[in-house]
Symmetry: C2
Subunit: 340 residues, 2 copies
Amino acid sequence: MSQLPQQPAEVSVPTSADVARLAGVSRATVSYVLNNNATVRISDPTRRRVREAALQLGYVPHAAARSLRAGHSRMVLLPSGHIPGGPPHQYFFEELQSGLRRLDYTVVQYGSLGLTADEAATAWAELRPVAVVVPPGIELTPHGTGILTRSGAKAVITLGPDPVPGAHGLVMDQRRVGVSAVEHLLVRGRRHIGVVMPEEPCRASFSESRLAGARRAAEAAGARVCPLPLRYEEESAHDLAARWPDLGLDAVFAYNDEYAMLMMRALQDAGVAVPADTAVIGADDALIGRLLRPRLSSVRMELAMPQPLAETIDRMVQHPGGSPVHHDLLRTSVVHRESS
Amino acid sequence: MSQLPQQPAEVSVPTSADVARLAGVSRATVSYVLNNNATVRISDPTRRRVREAALQLGYVPHAAARSLRAGHSRMVLLPSGHIPGGPPHQYFFEELQSGLRRLDYTVVQYGSLGLTADEAATAWAELRPVAVVVPPGIELTPHGTGILTRSGAKAVITLGPDPVPGAHGLVMDQRRVGVSAVEHLLVRGRRHIGVVMPEEPCRASFSESRLAGARRAAEAAGARVCPLPLRYEEESAHDLAARWPDLGLDAVFAYNDEYAMLMMRALQDAGVAVPADTAVIGADDALIGRLLRPRLSSVRMELAMPQPLAETIDRMVQHPGGSPVHHDLLRTSVVHRESS
DNA sequence: TTGAAAGCGGTACCAT
DNA sequence: ATGGTACCGCTTTCAA
């Protein structure tokens, strides 16, 4: 289909030695020129010759060789395995990446599904990152933290619900979501609260945290919480709705707005009035929640600005050895609409 | 060594030399033992001593040093910058990663937002990946392809709508989505078709392709297509719905189900009957589309199995230099519900 | 069965 | 203003 001639099977990748040879200088000079080394003065004609040679050969420096020699890299590792949590989280991580790149770090995501926590930590450590930022939903053990710091990571940061000993914990405590939802329902006079728990395993870490928060808020008020497993399918929701009269619940907090909408529709189809019989609240404040009727109440999440986090990481890298920082990045508020 | 007062207790990362010293053997022996080298026989007591020393020191091999010495890595680079396309695409890439890891590759995602196409290609090339898989929405130029192959990548694969000269193109042609949607609307007797175009820039590459497909299908039948820019906000949708009578349209194909639901709700609020006055169809066949009334028609996408793609990549790596492969991974079908 | 040594690609110190 | 060279951590002959 393509008319381009095929490259020969064995292409030899140009090295700085090739550039040096073509420019008629030493490898040292090549390094000085291409890195704009300020401590050494190189004549302009030489600079030009080196630059031209590099361009002509399509020379690209070898990051591994460079960081091996330097004894350190500027790689920030971001383990990634299906980050749930919707747009706010996604936006947070995109901005974090931009912020770090602006500070001249190389951000690399490492897919770690199907590895145990310590296998994963070892795999990350092999890359010798200068910092590791573990998002919520990815497990990091104290032992894993040890592996990473002992292999040179200057900053190990977890964003999960709980701090990990030895790591800096910039916490996104999903329990707050459950607390806010249940407190809202309590204020509206509800006492028997179902909590929709996705059966999809990738949701587990978030949903467990949100349930724990719901529990805490309910217990403090002497109210009842009932976990309700649900698959993200209409059939599963209808089965659950059919059992509704037996459950004796007057409110549902669903894992997020999508599960809430699924549940609400199933309840309505089963003849349960929302919010009269059962109040419904979701989480994430997704736009679609406003498109159903009644409009969906929701817990809105606000994450701290990612740019300051990038700068914090930079500071940790430059001045390592500080005692672990702990800080909560998540704020929640309830958006009350018509379903509760 | 640590005489400089500026640097606090520099933690020295254990190397294979440290392991060798502790075990009382040479570095070569350490390498043999830890890599289970079959060509060399090492006595069991020695093996055990080496293993224990490595464990005790928390030794983790240095991936950069290893691949520098080996002359090649097993890293597959997956540039990532906000992959749109919803669950089917997300699932596809997760499975692809698992498949590659099963074949013993290290999959690394490299966030490339905010870089030009060739800057990004250079940044990728510095990591000397053995293969690069460029998802739709990330730009790759023929020049970028050259940079990558010349720096040792054995397989460069694009998944965008159009093949890139020099790269293998395993195409996901989003135009099919537009074609399927419009053909469906034509069959239902509609001739004046609006196409909702998200104004969010991260959607641009997909939405442009889908519009192009819609155009092609409409032109073939002498029907009219009208692009409708829309922000993902209720206000934007209501503004658009208010202008509806002037537009003279009898159908809308929205970029995806979320935009379709937003549009449909706004139309209903403005007194436009769906599907009587205006038919609506989305894309992605998301579950939430079934929760609104009327239930949303949608274009369902099916992506080829990722496991075969992983094996194809493996084959390309082992036998490089084959002529570019081109193949379409995307199949579409229309799920007809009540909105069209 | 184990060890000594070369060398992968770059960088930086020390000569010249 | 440049060049020679040692060395980063690891693998892999070749020798002992």
